[in-house]
Subunit: 349 residues, 2 copies
Amino acid sequence: MRNFDINEDPHRRYNPLLNEWVLVSPHRAKRPWQGQNETISTEKLPKYDPTCYLCPGNVRANGMNNPNYESSFVFENDFAAMKQDEIMYEEDIRHTFFKAQPERGISRVVCFSPRHDLTLPEMEVAGIENIIRTWQKEYTDLGSIDYINHVQIFENKGSVMGCSNPHPHGQIWAQSSLPTQVEKTQKNLKDYFIKNNRNLLQDYLKAELIKDERLVIENDHFAALVPFWAIWPYETMIISKRHITKITDFTAEEVTSYATILKQLTTKYDNLFNTSFPYSSGIHQAPTDGGAHEEWQFHMHFYPPLLRSATVKKFMVGYEMLGESQRDITPEKSAAILREQSDIHYKNK
Amino acid sequence: MRNFDINEDPHRRYNPLLNEWVLVSPHRAKRPWQGQNETISTEKLPKYDPTCYLCPGNVRANGMNNPNYESSFVFENDFAAMKQDEIMYEEDIRHTFFKAQPERGISRVVCFSPRHDLTLPEMEVAGIENIIRTWQKEYTDLGSIDYINHVQIFENKGSVMGCSNPHPHGQIWAQSSLPTQVEKTQKNLKDYFIKNNRNLLQDYLKAELIKDERLVIENDHFAALVPFWAIWPYETMIISKRHITKITDFTAEEVTSYATILKQLTTKYDNLFNTSFPYSSGIHQAPTDGGAHEEWQFHMHFYPPLLRSATVKKFMVGYEMLGESQRDITPEKSAAILREQSDIHYKNK
Ligand SMILES: O=P(O)(O)O[C@H]1O[C@H](CO)[C@@H](O)[C@H](O)[C@H]1O
Ligand SMILES: O=P(O)(O)O[C@H]1O[C@H](CO)[C@@H](O)[C@H](O)[C@H]1O
């Protein structure tokens, strides 16, 4: 019998945010790949695309014209997953198996820049600060609507993540219920807070700063790291150092620090495979239900699908869907690889 | 204020197997699609492919030769996610944030047929019966190994599901722990069993047979239906009518019924978009930890990604990863569409 070597032996790791496990198979990174390759567009994008429904001045699906916006621009999603209508219903308690309830919500699209050809890592820090201020405003405006209890800010980047337009943009889905993943996270944050009278993610970040094995970037106010329990090959999390429950609590300095770490992290991502690195990212923070939510700590998840190259992604399929998430490369290895990527974007070299 | 119309209004549905919710947006099926299209191979496959590592007689990655098998054939995965080595470790209880434990397991590949060009719907019922008997044997053999407490039988079909070889095959991952999804399901099945002294899935199936809104196929021993809480557009579940906790409890008649419903369901799937329909499927049943597990009921999940056509899939990305699964077409509509598909495979028409 050998002693457990976490860098070599198959093992499971525990995610305290979701109370779930992930299967880690370090030795499996070596297997050959004969499966599907993603296509990458190497087409150089124009600064302005007359056919793009997100570019300034152009017409959208609903016939409306975009303004000639100069920084960021927000509009209601023309094909929203939720509606604002108030709907009457009686919950039928006999319905153990057919439990449903109407859901009210608002979906918005946030254009990050008037430039069709820029992505986060290619923007100036000042431009990213502007996106953060837009997120703050939306969190406040949407969150102050009576029936809105949660505001989900996210970005799908790249066609492999279902994004249909390369114009840099994100989305906001605000709704009356806490979404499943947020509810789970809140439960675990709260349990920890009640038990320890401390914040789970602050304690976790402190432990990670001491260990220094999974850190990718650190500045005065934020750290970006590959979580110990990451499921995606190059998954990361940005956590604020100060105890901040929501984006509107940032000081002006923190806004700049956050913009800076966003630019650095996405630059490292692009440099990893010399490609516009696809991901879904999103912010987890206090719900807007009026509670104090001391248990929450502002953080942002990045879930990127690529595994081996610009064209080979990790497939979360059979075993992962039915059993448990599985990864082939250790989070420590991924963090080391990301750490050594340059902070200068490959296009500018 | 209008009354809630589950066929038209955005709503959430509750999944009692996982204790999770799904967001349903019936009106959203109408939005146009400008995003990524999957590529489909229309290439006619040969009955035997000399370069395929799964075909009879051919050489595998590890240098070994496949036998000239005539029905199904099982071998150890050359790139297994787990290993059989027994590994020593001390759990460090201070590790709230760095909790990990070695995991032992065995991965096998199950070739469904010597024919390179056949998939489940194109096989004879007798051939599918043979696969089921292979699954029974593997469940028994692997399950009887001392440290194996769970046997996950599954299939990834189609390149979009990470499958790298069209030769019909599935996998079995057997391991010492209950995978996250199975553990969650077992907890909810058990809670229901303790509370009601009845089986959750048997009660659910009875309720569905009476409602008759989401059934796709029914025979003497099994039903295939779109669960009320399905997340994938054409997700289905096969449930045994009799209370059966594991695949080895089937009578000979039930094996035939199961093979028949598998052939019918996958035929309807192929006929939906006139394509070899991709999916991940897998069996959920009692763990092999020696317990009686009366709370379990044999069932099989099908998670197919396609949404609108053979080339447009549903992307489970941003909001889905950070918030909650979301679907655009109601389960009732999906069930009706699947029900009306022919039982004769489109290639044979
Ligand atoms: O074992 P395969 O077929 O090479 O690999 C496929 O199925 C596995 C089990 O679902 C996944 O972990 C892999 O990501 C996927 O590519
Ligand atoms: O809203 P979009 O960009 O059209 O759509 C994309 O993001 C949504 C939110 O994550 C998903 O529900 C869709 O499946 C995806 O294609």
